[in-house]
Amino acid sequence: MKPFQYTRLSTQDLASGTTLRDSTILAGGTNLIDLMKYGVEKPDRLADIGKLPYAQIEESDEGLLLGALVTNADTAYHSAVKKTYPLLHKAILSAASAQLRNRATNGGNLLQRTRCYYFYDTAMPCNKREPGSGCAAINGFNRIHAILGTSASCIATHPSDMCVALAALEAEVHVLRKGATLVIPFDQLHRLPGDHPEKDHNLEPGDLITHIQLPTEGFSDHFEYLKIRDRESYAFALISVAACLKVSEGKIEDIRVALGGVAHKPWKLKKVEKEMIGKVASTDNFQFFAERLIQGAQSFGTNDFKILLVKRAIVRALNSALNPS
């Protein structure tokens, strides 16, 4: 690791905001320290936010407020999450390993970086790691890469499972910006790569994620988190689907589907979901929905299979959500 200055932040330090602006934020560190050892991240200053007061889960009329510093494991096993948001419970537990979930925080999960092989290898060209150096994945190994919302400069995916569930649940992200709290709808947190794949998200330097607000509706009756991966545990998703349904007399009252492993952000299209309201909850309609959701998908060779697989996965997840076993 490149040597750096370390500061343990207290609540008082937050007021000025300077330290945050000049520093890379350290929470659980499960991704940051990993990247620093590879030389992918080379911060001069680390601001450790571990002692800040964002380590609680609070229930209210507006839903559940998850502190950014609560670990993924404490979130998944929280009684309210298990009861009201079983989708989130399942998504978190499908991710990484028990050890990583015990250490990784909710805020950090949102900001974890891609698993692209070429991003991680500093000997390789990568526009995300080194803007302008090129993308080795487009004509290389891209089995784990994106098929939606890609650009000529980047086809990386966001690797989180938790975020896919949060996207489906339409959570909100609370961000402390210049002393005030900014509420960002989940689908506006992450961004597509475009010409600036070095930017994973829309936060600004100095911003601090403090909480994630889950809305009251948790779709606990009809949900599924389907994760397709290369081994039965401890592997990133090739494709994942977070599916939520509300059904009345066989018809769709509400539908939420977010996809992981296919884009630079959890992939979700509100417009396509709205089109489904009132339609019969059937395999045919789910297939139609899947086609619409991944319209324009483009593959790059070794990830060609994803276009077919993601459609099938969407249908499978929706059917499972519809008919819980």
Partner: protein
């Protein structure tokens, strides 16, 4: 017999569960830490290397590159090791030529690991790149039989027999590259003593190999270097040859006259040997009744540009079934990469994968149950060598596996999930049962504790335990009276721990030295008890640390009080049994698997794996079973998980980590079972024991491939088989 054959818990268990088993990187000494910078191109040369910034970094003690390698390491220096294949072994820092991506090009030595690692990133390297072809497929034109050893002799007339066969198949099978990846990264800790001598702790499967390399490269005499390796955190072949960390740590220690440790990173564990990618072409023919009439197996494998790595791959096709018309071909082609390396069941696992897939395809063509087909073509002598087997209870394996797996009723098992396709497959497996010369030394102390020394290794196989069991039984003492010591070049010579021959070789030597020592006790007893002068050795026995004669007992400790100091120690060298020459020794197994394939999503799972093995006398069923289960899981990993992804544009492994190079995890393993059938063998070695470390992986990938066909109707003919391979398009 108290211990042999018993499910004995490991004698080194308490050390392992308390963190007190000291692996190479655990050696406590004030070390400098060494970190290797690797090339980022595969072919060309270094035109400039600027180490100024790195040298100035805090804690850095020295940097070695091709520019400052001591001259004495360049000329008339022997870089070979006992298992070096033909060719020129890699010489670190020899010149500015780049032979493969990931080649060590600089060594940074610093006070801490972190300093060394970061300083290495401050080194600026300029290259001149040359064009190259980075994959086996691109280099097929250069494949040649000249670089490969000759396979077993062809027999009969394959072409004619193939033409006359009722059913024939011609198929190609491909295997990707696999990396060993023991959990313990390769490491060397060098203690530099004030007298200039060094003690080298190395991760190696046999300390003699490290010693040979150090002598050849650094010109060290036997009295100036000692190599030790008490615990090895898995190896699977990666420690059969000394790896570059041995050179690096020793170079730095000798030059800086200081203790130096080098531990590879996980990424660096992908920068040396591997099981090579191979392409098999199989041509098989049989008659209507399923008699195998013609068999041709041709394999092309990758090697490096500087060594001709070879394995015994195609010979297995001439061995496993009766067939009178056999044609075997083996070719190598160089790729811009480091040299491959023997990896768990080298050759056998590759050859038998192709053979057992092809046999299944041919049985299917002929409309014969795959188990029946194999029974029909059973062979009870080695047609390659024209020799009988020392023993072969494969028929019993078939029968028992059939029963345990419920093979005959497999189709009647109900499907529970409508999304899942269910399939069953099987294969035969086999591995050599060899014995190598081995030497041991035994001594007894006044407390009646026996110390047995041998330069062998315990790479997780249970050597400490099994040797103690053998010695305890042969001496008639309890297990706690045996101290088995290994992993030290100060101990008597041993073959490298590999080839599943340690029990056979070292175990036989241990048994023999214990028997020798019985005579020693007997002689001393008679000498000091004139009344028993006439007693024959056969009339006494050894039990409970006592010599028994009739109703009388004499404690070893009491008898040996009368012995001279010299008489308390004994040495022995054991040569391979005669049966190793006159007969062919192999262990055998049958494996059956159940797979499920998700119809729409392609997800492949293995809910059930059954292996039944015939491996002679099993000294410790507890550790043997564990090893067999482990090697079966290796088979699963090879079949469904592991793929060293070399980007041929760069000649670089892109998944050089445990997140993307998928080895099996706990959740991948469901119902898995292994058991042994009785197999009496009085020819293979004096113990009648065959090794089991490699047997379980052989055939397993084929069984899974065959089961996937049974489930889906698709022959994938490649490894690993991933979900995208079975997706219906």
């Amino acid at each position: 017999m108290l211990n042999i054959g018993n499910k004995q818990t490991r004698v080194d268990g308490p050390q392992k569960v308390t963190g007190k088993a000291t692996y190479t990187a655990d050696i406590a000494a004030p070390f400098y830490h060494a970190y290797v910078l690797q090339s980022t191109i595969a072919c060309g040369s270094i035109t400039a290397i600027d180490t100024t910034a790195a040298e100035a970094f805090e804690g850095v003690k020295a940097i070695f590159t091709h520019l400052n390698l001591p001259e004495r390491l360049k000329n008339k220096v022997d870089y070979t090791d006992p298992l070096a294949p033909p060719g020129k072994p890699f010489r670190p820092f020899y010149n500015n030529t780049i032979l493969y991506n990931g080649q060590p090009i600089a060594l940074v030595v610093a006070e801490s690991f972190e300093q060394a690692r970061y300083a290495s990133k401050l080194i600026k390297v300029t290259y001149e790149e040359k064009k190259f072809k980075g994959s086996l497929a691109e280099n097929l034109k250069n494949a040649s039989a000249d670089r490969a050893p000759e396979p077993a002799k062809n027999r009969g007339d394959f072409t004619k027999a193939f033409k006359n066969s009722d059913y024939t198949i011609i198929r190609e099978y491909r295997q990707s590259r696999n990396y060993h990846n023991p959990m313990e990264p390769h490491a060397t800790s060098v203690e530099y003593n004030s007298d200039g001598n060094i003690v080298v702790y190395d991760k190696i499967q046999g300390v003699a190999s490290s010693l040979k390399y150090l002598k050849g490269v650094f010109g060290l005499g036997a009295d100036s270097v000692r190599v030790k390796s008490d615990f090895v955190g898995g190896a699977f072949g990666s420690g059969l040859r000394p790896q570059y960390q041995l050179f690096m740590a020793t170079l730095a220690a000798l030059e800086l006259k200081h203790n130096v440790q080098m531990v590879m990173t996980r990424a660096q564990m992908f920068s040396f040997g591997y099981r090579p990618e191979v392409i098999h072409t199989m041509k098989l023919g049989c008659s209507k009744d399923g008699t195998l009439t013609a068999l041709s197996h041709k394999t092309v494998g990758e090697t490096s540009t500087f060594e001709d790595f070879n394995e015994t791959i195609v010979d297995w096709s001439g061995l496993l079934y009766k067939c009178d018309n056999v044609n075997l071909e083996y070719e190598l082609t160089p790729v811009q990469s480091y040299t491959p390396l023997d990896m768990r069941a080298p050759g056998g696992v590759s050859g038998v994968y192709a053979l057992e897939c092809a046999i299944d395809e041919l049985a299917h063509e002929a409309g014969i149950d795959p188990l029946e087909f194999r029974r029909k073509n059973y062979v009870d002598y080695d047609q390659n060598e024209n020799k009988p087997f020392t023993s072969k209870e494969l028929k019993a394996c078939y029968a028992r596996c059939e029963e345990v797996f419920n093979w005959n009723n497999r189709k009647s098992l109900a499907k529970t999930d409508p999304h899942l396709l269910l399939g069953y497959g099987m294969a035969t497996g086999s591995w050599e049962a060899l014995q190598q010369p081995a030497s041991v030394a035994l001594s007894m102390n006044e407390m009646g504790t026996f110390t047995i020394k041998c330069a062998t290794a315990d790479i997780g196989t249970g050597t400490y335990t099994v040797m103690s069991q053998i010695a305890a039984d042969k001496l008639g003492v309890s297990l706690d009276k045996i101290k088995f010591k290994l992993g030290d070049t100060a101990f008597p010579d041993s073959p490298i721990e590999g080839g599943s021959w340690t029990v056979s070789s070292v175990g036989s030597a241990v048994a023999a030295i214990c028997e020798k020592f019985q005579y020693r006790i007997f002689d001393v007893w008679k000498r000091n008890n004139p009344e028993y002068q006439a007693v024959a050795f056969e009339a006494i026995s050894f039990q409970d640390a006592k010599l028994k004669y009739g109703s009388k007992t004499f404690a070893f400790t009491e008898i040996m009080q009368q012995a001279s100091k010299d008489e308390l120690s004994i040495a022995h060298s054991e040569a391979p049994a005669d049966g190793q020459d006159t007969h062919s020794g192999y262990a055998h197994c049958c494996v059956m698997v159940e797979v499920t394939v998700d119809k729409e999503l392609g997800i492949i799972k293995v809910p059930r794996l059954v292996n039944v093995s015939a491996a002679g006398k099993i000294i410790n069923p507890k550790t043997a079973e564990n090893q067999l289960l482990g090697s079966m899981i290796w088979g699963l990993g090879m079949a469904l998980r592991e793929e060293g992804m070399v980007d041929s544009r760069y000649g670089r492994v892109m998944n050089a980590n445990f997140a993307e190079y998928h080895i099996a995890v706990n959740a991948d393993i469901h119902d898995i079972h292994t058991e042994f059938v009785e197999e009496h063998d009085d020819k293979v070695n004096p113990l009648g024991a065959k090794g089991v470390g490699e047997l379980g992986i052989v055939g397993l990938a084929a069984a899974i491939s065959n089961a996937i066909f049974d489930a889906t109707g698709k022959r994938l003919r490649k490894l690993p088989m991933l979900l995208d391979d079975v997706l219906e398009v």
